[in-house]
Amino acid sequence: MAAAAMRSDVHAQTETAPAAVNPVTAPSLAKVSLKVNGKACDLELDTRTTLLDALREHLHLTGSKKGCDQGQCGACTVMVNGRRINSCLTLAVMQQGSEVTTIEGLGTPENMHPMQEAFVKCDGYQCGYCTSGQICSAVAVLGEIKEGIPSHVTEDLMKPPSWDSSEIRERMSGNLCRCGAYSNIMEAITQVAGGRA
């Protein structure tokens, strides 16, 4: 009786209550179609599969890294429909029809993206684990400044954000580097931003 009462209490708060005890034991499968780095991919996945795990374990694109797996570190950053996101905090099935760009889609060792070239030139890493996320994020950051999206340090909301280093630092705060290569990461991004930064 007490258990039944709790269940109905829980159900009465669909959005915000602790979930009822989940008796589902068998994995549930669902289909999803994505375009990853320009290539159409049709997958059938356990619904629990994050976009990050779909990229790494099913599509074998292991450039995107699993650091914290909770949106804190940014190592899993990829671009979805032109916007950077934490691929560890979205389910693959939620990305039906999305266009995903990973570090592998930005450039190749033979034909690097300018941001990849700048990271190499400026030595913007030590161990390299956070680097794919840093580079994807940095490319998106420059796009966000260009689009006029404000940040916490934007002085005047009605004027375009500046290209200075305080804007870039603030916008890169979702990407951690445990080696502490920040100064060289900043140097690389600043170079790509051009004389504007």
């Binding site: 708060q13 669909t14 209550a17 356990d46 996101i85 934490n86 389910l91 939620m94 916490h152």
Partner: protein
């Protein structure tokens, strides 16, 4: 993560109906908080209803001269909207003070309101928490409570609401529009949307079973100087110790809401009458019934000091 079944909802009414048909169902939009909690098995939905396809992603003017923000408008897009930057600057400022660029690109307007607390004991499944497991006790009351609430608290829970956006919406007197499983709709003033913990801290909002947020509406612009001042342990990407959303008029009158101090954005309209007398007078009214712990008693003084800074900034604007 526990297994769950999944569907993509075709309409708001269908989503609300599906939630009623599936016990233990949850809506998912941005997923940034829900997925995190599902990995820890703090949230264990049996069925996920993906609402991302519902086209609730527009910001439109209302006949009253305000704005209607679709439930699925991403935090980035809301902060960047020219009308919001111009007429509701406190909202833009609050949004960009929260989370990281990646998270703001995913997080939605409705989902931001429904975030769960970041109380460390809610996340630590080895310790009692009345919010996570009703009746199990509160580890925070005698625990590490530096980050936690100082007002509107109960013996059962001293968690805070983590949202910055909600604090700005409270100062703007926004309303939450919803649809219920029977197809009816209702409008909930933001002041009534979040609950205080009382003895049921697991109930965080007044939403009914299956009720889906469809939009948040802003009344017509207030004018004045819009300020969101957030104090936190890092310069970026951290939850507030104390934050203040304020709209201050030239004559010194205005509105103030406080984040990081309660289970909901904290606003006491009567305290705003004290604004011309300064931060100390306002804070005494705002936090008259404060019950801080030894660890977070500093927040009472911090509210006064942050408000002082806000009022000085407004004067200089």
């Amino acid at each position: 993560m526990k297994p769950f079944t999944y569907e993509r909802a075709e309409s708001p009414a269908a989503a609300a109906g599906a939630a009623m048909r599936h016990p233990g169902a949850k809506f998912v939009a941005g997923g940034t908080n829900l997925l995190d909690l599902m990995k820890l098995e703090i949230e264990e939905p049996m069925h996920l209803i993906d609402v991302n396809g519902l086209q609730l992603d527009k910001i439109e003017p209302t006949p009253e001269g305000g704005l209607r923000i679709g439930a699925l408008v991403r935090n980035t897009d809301l902060a960047a909207d020219e009308r919001v930057r111009r007429d509701y600057g406190v909202l833009s400022r609050a949004l960009v003070a929260g989370a990281s660029g990646q998270l703001r690109n995913m997080a939605t307007t409705a989902g931001n309101l429904l975030q769960r607390t970041r109380c460390p004991y809610f996340y630590d499944t080895n310790q009692p928490c009345n919010k996570r497991l009703p009746g199990s006790g509160c580890s925070a009351v005698d625990g590490a409570s530096r980050q936690l609430a100082i007002i509107g608290v109960s013996e059962a829970c001293i968690a805070t609401h983590p949202s910055d956006m909600a604090v700005a919406l409270r100062v703007l007197d926004a309303s939450v529009e919803t649809i219920l499983p029977d197809g009816t709709t209702r409008t909930i003033p933001i002041a009534d949307f979040h609950r205080l913990p009382g003895d049921t801290p697991h109930l965080e909002t007044v939403l009914q079973p299956g009720e889906l947020i469809t939009a948040v509406t802003l009344p017509k612009p207030l004018g004045g100087t819009h300020i969101y001042h957030k104090v936190r342990d890092r310069a970026s990407y951290a939850f507030a110790l104390v934050s203040i959303a304020a709209v201050i008029q030239r004559d010194g009158s205005g509105r103030v809401a406080v984040g990081g101090v309660a289970h909901k954005p904290w606003r006491v309209e009567a305290a705003e009458a004290e604004l011309p007398r300064g931060a100390k007078a306002v804070t005494e009214r705002l936090l008259a019934d404060a019950k801080p712990t030894k660890d977070n008693a500093f927040k009472v003084k911090l509210v006064e000091r942050v408000l002082g800074a806000v009022l000085a900034e407004a004067k200089g604007a």
